[in-house]
């Protein structure tokens, strides 16, 4: 069989694996319990591997926050000392079947969503989404939120999810896509659906009233709640598509504010990186272009499985965020179908007459068409100590894809 046919068959297989996925939220747990290989004095972070020296300001701030949260350091200065002397091991979330938003830092006592892909038996975890620590804010207030998760919300949601025997994610996502969510930056509908689903169970779990009320208030008023779930689900969907010999499909897109990295099914284990790009978008009042950090976060796992920028045709509301038009949104979604292996039978866009989003980014098509994926994302500050400052559209560097393609040719071509 010629190489082209081999590649096409491998891609077909990888695509089918993504489509066959059945992600179910099975637990909410402390990371140490559920994340393989996570040890004490270890911080998992978003994006490809990076050293403390090369880490961007916001991610450094988040790491400092984790040291304080875990009690490894008493103050930021001590935390910085630990981090810069190599006393803390830094590894990508993706190397531990996990993902995290923005700085994405996960340590043992962070509570995470646990999603199992029932079709293949693999699990993936994602930490909760908030607007401060993950953007590099290591203040007491920022850390207090993480503590809330550990003390109040995490355990409450764990009880509810276990009582329900797990919550299937697919129907929630399919519904939410029809309601104007795109599962990355617009997750209001899915968050509401989730809150509605857990509310009666939370109330009936035998939990103390204050905990129930606090958790109900939290899940009912968090516009980005479901992002943690969609990211964990995205990772759980994509992982079984890893390691298919001769497949050119992307299994991960991840950024750490310093570099943008992709991983390819037929080149499993390797990262193809390039400098992280700037985000083109809008800033919250008081912030300027020079304040903005570069692209950051594992949340591009959503685009990797056909959501986010790939479903943006159904979420014109997001475009006020990015300064674009509804027609542009539709064109993005159509364009993305030209660089993917296939079209999802499940993720439908009403604005495109209920046709599906593109799934399975093919690096050959990206390079051939000179068209990189569209990702819509939030903007962090360059420096540690701030929360979210804006949002917009970002395009991965073409270099990631050309490097992957060259490596693929090296490995597979005669």
């Amino acid at each position: 069989m010629g190489l082209k046919e081999r590649i096409n068959e491998a891609n077909e297989q990888a695509f089918r694996r993504m489509v066959a996925a059945d992600p179910v939220l099975v637990d909410v747990a402390p990371a140490a319990e559920v994340i393989p290989g996570l040890r004490d004095h270890m911080i998992l972070h978003s994006g490809p591997p990076v050293t403390w020296e090369r880490m961007c300001g916001a991610q450094r701030g988040a790491c400092i926050g984790m040291c304080l949260f875990e009690g490894w350091a008493a103050d930021p200065a001590e935390a910085e000392r630990l981090l810069s002397t190599g006393a803390i091991v830094l590894e990508p979330n993706h190397h531990h079947a996990a993902v995290g938003p923005m700085a994405g830092t996960i340590t043992s006592n962070m509570w995470v969503w646990v999603v199992e892909n029932k079709a293949f038996g693999n699990c993936a975890c994602c930490r909760q989404v908030e607007s401060f620590q993950q953007f590099g804010d290591h203040s007491k207030d920022a850390l207090a939120l993480l503590a809330q998760w550990r003390e109040v919300w995490g355990p409450a949601l764990r009880a509810a999810v276990r009582r329900m025997g797990g919550i299937p994610i697919k129907p929630l996502v399919a519904r939410a896509l029809l309601m104007g969510d795109e599962m990355h930056n617009r997750v209001v509908a899915s968050s509401s659906l989730f809150a509605n689903a857990v509310a009666p169970v939370l109330a009936d779990c035998g939990l103390p009233k204050e905990q129930v009320v606090s958790t109900l208030y939290y899940v009912g008023n968090h516009p980005f709640l479901f992002l943690g779930l969609s990211m964990a689900a995205g990772k759980a969907i994509a992982d079984p598509a890893r390691g298919v010999e001769a497949s050119t499909l992307v299994t991960a897109m991840a950024r750490n504010g310093t570099e943008f990295g992709i991983q390819v099914s037929g080149l499993d284990g390797e990262w193809f990186t390039a400098p992280a790009p700037r985000i083109a978008g809008l800033l919250l009042p008081g912030w300027k272009e020079e304040d903005a950090g570069l692209d950051m976060g594992d949340s591009a796992i959503t685009e990797t499985v056909g959501w986010g920028g790939f479903a943006i045709g159904g979420a014109p509301g997001i475009l006020t965020f990015t300064g674009g038009t509804a027609a542009q949104a539709l064109n993005y979604s159509r364009d993305m179908r030209t660089i993917t292996a296939g079209i999802s039978p499940d993720w439908l866009m009403p604005a495109l007459d209920f046709t599906g989003t593109g799934v399975g980014i093919d690096i050959r098509k990206v390079v051939h068409g000179n068209l990189v994926p569209v990702i819509d994302t939030a903007i962090a500050h360059r420096e540690p100590g701030h929360g979210i400052i804006g949002g917009g559209i970002v395009r991965p560097p073409m270099a990631c894809f050309t490097r992957a393609l060259a490596r693929f040719a090296e490995k597979y071509r005669e």
Partner: protein, 525 residues
């Protein structure tokens, strides 16, 4: 027959599902169709309609599952059930882009996906990418009109071989003109339909032939361009032979014409052999060959005019008076022109936008024993050392690669030809300037107008020197071309340019003038 199909873990919008159900119900053999989520309430409704009795999957369906309920002829129901996923994948059934302008497709494959009835690809991308696009077009099931040049012989052979295997034709590379069932491709003129077919590698040659056939009151069935290298031995005439095959079988074609420059020896032998057994009358014109032998049923011509005349004759049509050539009149006109020239005027400069017309003019000159230099020389003519500078008597093909690389073709943009005409006008040794003007949909809106200023300038310069510059021209086109044949001819005549009805006649006139100048030079000794 009633059947229920359960698709687990599939959620769809309820209105969308109603659209799907309606489309399924419209299928022949289907009496009723429902598509609903497997909620207890929905299942109760379906059960009341007689569905799902004893069906375990139906009983076990939940709100996150999809239930399709079908009633109808067993064959029809089974067919829908087998394709259930595809019914759900078709979206709401609205045609793509309904209500909003779709961006243009970026590849030929995308284009054919949108228009599966597409039949011909027209390719004019830069040469280094042309073979790839042509291959993609063939694989998408399209015939290829390959205007691009700078495609290797190797690629051309591979493309034409692949095309033959798929029952498709590649017209090109470097194919400027074709007429497919009434549609003019590339540089083409508005020519009525008729019984005369033509195949061959010449672009402007085909344009001139088609225009003359139209002016004679007849018309073209089709004109199949083959690309300039098709009749080389490297390619062996693959597209020419395919074109002959098609025209021979075409009910609209009564006469076949092959118009080409002399082919490679092997290709010519194959061609003649094929033409000899052609069921329809054939006219073969190999420009520049002197072969006058009657080749059986194949009529031989050596100029485009002659090819047109023989083709029309075979179709039972005469050659019109308007196109007739009186050698006596040509001679008289030549005498009148030469009589006004200064002794140092002794060269001709032919500035051609049509490569074939440049070639034909050289052939006419060679037959008369006159030598010219050219950047695209006929065998036996000398090569012009610097294409940008005429030397002695010179015929320049301004459509050659060296002039059109990165620039529009001279049929579209007259800038280079204008500058060259200025240059020739400054040369006191120039006696005659021969020009061709080519009309058509893609050509300049006013080819004659584009050059008139320079023409008048050159005439004035000669007058200032006490001499006379003879300008001779022909216009290739028809009155149905947007530029209007008669309008263009009139504009030339009013500017004192001698206009001839065909390019061959214009060249023949120039031949007379140059012979006279040679005689005069002899006499002066």
């Amino acid at each position: 027959m009633r059947k229920t199909i359960v698709k687990q873990n599939r959620y769809f919008d309820s209105v969308f599902l109603m659209l799907v159900a309606r489309r399924i119900a419209a299928q022949p053999g289907i009496r009723d169709a429902s598509a609903v989520l497997g909620t207890a309430a929905n299942r109760k409704v379906l059960a009341a309609m007689g569905y799902g009795a004893g069906d375990e999957a139906f009983a076990g369906a939940g709100p996150n599952d999809l239930v399709l309920a079908l009633e109808g002829e067993p064959a029809a129901v089974d067919a829908v059930a087998a394709e259930a996923d595809s019914w759900l994948a078709r979206g709401s059934g609205a045609p793509e882009g309904a209500g909003s302008a779709l961006p243009e497709p970026r590849t030929v494959a995308e284009a054919v996906a949108r228009r599966p009835d597409a039949s011909v690809a027209i390719i004019s991308v830069p040469g280094q990418h042309a073979a790839r696009e042509a291959r993609a077009a063939l694989r998408a099931g399209l015939h290829v009109f390959l205007f691009s040049s700078n495609v290797s012989a190797e690629d051309e052979l591979a493309l034409k071989t692949e095309a033959a295997g798929r029952g498709l034709i590649v017209m090109g590379p470097d194919c400027g003109t074709a007429f497919l069932g009434g549609a003019g491709l590339g540089f083409a003129n508005a020519v009525r339909r008729g019984p005369i077919g033509i195949v061959g590698p010449t672009g402007t040659g085909m344009q001139e032939f088609a225009s003359l056939v139209h002016q004679a009151g007849s018309g073209l069935s089709s004109g199949i361009g083959t690309g300039s290298r098709d009749l080389s031995d490297a390619i062996g005439g693959l597209s020419t032979l395919a074109g002959i095959e098609a025209l021979e079988a075409d009910p609209a074609t009564q006469v076949l014409t092959v118009l080409a420059k002399p082919p490679g020896a092997g290709a010519e032998a194959r061609l003649r052999k094929r033409l000899d057994r052609c069921a329809k009358p054939v006219v073969l014109c190999l420009l520049g060959t002197e072969d006058r032998a009657v080749g059986g049923r194949v009529r031989l011509a050596s100029t485009i005019d002659e090819a047109a005349r023989l083709a029309l004759e075979a179709a039972g049509q005469g050659w019109p008076r308007s196109l007739a050539c009186d050698p006596g009149e040509l001679r008289a006109a030549a005498v009148a022109e030469v009589g006004r020239m200064r002794p140092e005027q002794r060269h001709i400069r032919g500035l051609f936008s049509g490569g074939t017309l440049c070639y034909q003019a050289q052939a006419i000159f060679r037959r008369a024993g006159l030598a010219v230099r050219s950047n695209a020389p006929l065998p036996g003519m000398a090569e012009l050392p610097d294409p940008h500078r005429s030397l002695g008597s010179t015929f320049v093909d301004l459509g050659a690669e060296i002039f059109v690389d990165g620039r529009p073709h001279p049929m579209i943009d007259a800038t280079l030809r204008r500058k060259r005409l200025d240059q020739e006008g400054e040369d006191p040794e120039v006696a005659v300037v021969l020009l061709d003007f080519i009309l058509g949909a893609i050509a300049s809106p006013d080819p004659v107008g584009d050059l008139l200023g320079a023409a008048r300038g050159a005439q004035r310069a000669a007058r200032r020197r006490g001499g006379h510059l003879c300008l001779a021209a022909s216009v290739c086109g028809t009155d149905q071309d947007t530029q209007g044949l008669q309008t263009q001819v009139r504009a030339l005549a009013e500017a004192g340019v001698l206009v001839f009805p065909t390019a061959a006649q214009a060249a023949a006139f120039c031949q007379e003038a140059m012979l006279l100048l040679a005689e005069r030079k002899e006499a002066d000794r």
